[in-house]
């Protein structure tokens, strides 16, 4: 019988430390966003969702970038660990993209008087979400592991185009009503972002950016990569049983 390397059921120490750090950081971030930061004069309390909405997009960007890196490294080395990183990036990035998209929609209802409009930024975000959802569905449809990993690597690299378009579209299109928060947008654009909170806006945003943009995606990806490792182990055991 072939010897199979055992996969320990207990989470590694690094993962435990990351989980604890992330939980504490999320709690502090929520405190800063919901209690510490002042209420916006124009928008009221709904403006506070901005401290999660925008950082969640950067978290998705981090995760999708990991997918690109994982895809490139897999195609070079053919080591399955990079494929694990790629699929983890897509799953976590998709979840954070949905957080971004849905919180934006809820914010838009009282501020723009609509749940949804076919604004260039909103449309490109929706296309991005659908592109990555398709990655998971197509990947699940390929049985042969090597073929699946190769396909997923190429798809994951190409799909980043939708993220880049989503990032830059508010800076190049004049017909957007989505506010440009970082940097400057087109001078003819209709959207503005003039937060008139009394205090704490910068503190709350600067704290939540690395929490949702780095800590949460990296911790969740570590869990997802470990799960993928266990799933591969199950597949190996099944194959071994079939050979007997």
């Amino acid at each position: 019988m072939t010897t199979i390397s055992p996969v320990s059921p207990a989470p590694r120490a690094g993962l435990q430390v990351m989980s604890a750090t992330t939980l504490i950081a999320v709690a502090v971030g929520l405190y800063l966003a919901l209690i510490f930061a002042g209420t916006d004069i124009d928008q009221g309390n709904i403006q506070r969702i901005f401290y999660i909405h925008m950082p969640a997009f950067f978290g998705a960007f981090t995760a999708f970038s990991a997918t690109v890196l994982g895809g490139i490294l897999y195609l070079i080395t053919r080591n399955p660990r990079w494929d694990r990183m790629a699929v983890a990036g897509v799953e976590v990035g998709l979840m954070l993209s949905l957080v971004n998209l849905l919180t934006g929609s809820i914010w838009a209802r009282p501020i723009w008087n609509t749940w949804w409009t076919w604004d260039p930024r909103l449309t490109s975000t929706a296309v991005m979400v659908l592109t990555y959802a398709a990655y998971l569905m197509l990947r699940a449809g390929i049985e042969q592991p090597e073929q699946r990993r190769r396909f997923a690597a190429v798809y994951g690299i190409l799909a980043i185009v939708t993220v880049v378009i989503t990032l830059v579209i508010i800076r190049v299109r004049d017909d957007t009503i989505h506010p440009v928060v970082v940097g400057t947008g087109s001078t003819a654009a209709e959207g503005t972002f003039d937060v008139q909170a009394t205090r704490g806006v910068t503190t709350a945003l600067l704290f939540n950016l690395p929490v949702w943009g780095l800590l949460i995606p990296i911790t969740l990806m570590m869990f997802r990569m470990r799960l993928e490792q266990l799933t591969e182990h199950v597949d190996r055991l099944k194959a071994e049983l079939m050979e007997r």
């Binding site: 004069i41 928008q43 009221g44 506070r48 919180t103 799960l227 049983l241």
Partner: protein, 48 residues
């Protein structure tokens, strides 16, 4: 100073964020449990 009453939308948005993040964590947990159970069963079968 009076602020526009948008608290109910904030509550809804936080509910959505909580549902998505906790829901994803729960999904991961269930898949972990299933994988461990499968490994245990398959290793036992392989030894028999």
């Amino acid at each position: 100073m009076s602020y526009p009453e948008t608290s109910s939308y904030l509550t809804l948005a936080l509910g959505v964020v909580g549902t998505l993040t906790i829901g994803y964590l729960l999904t991961l947990w269930v898949r972990f449990q299933q994988a461990h159970k499968d490994i245990e069963t398959l290793e036992k079968l392989n030894h028999d």
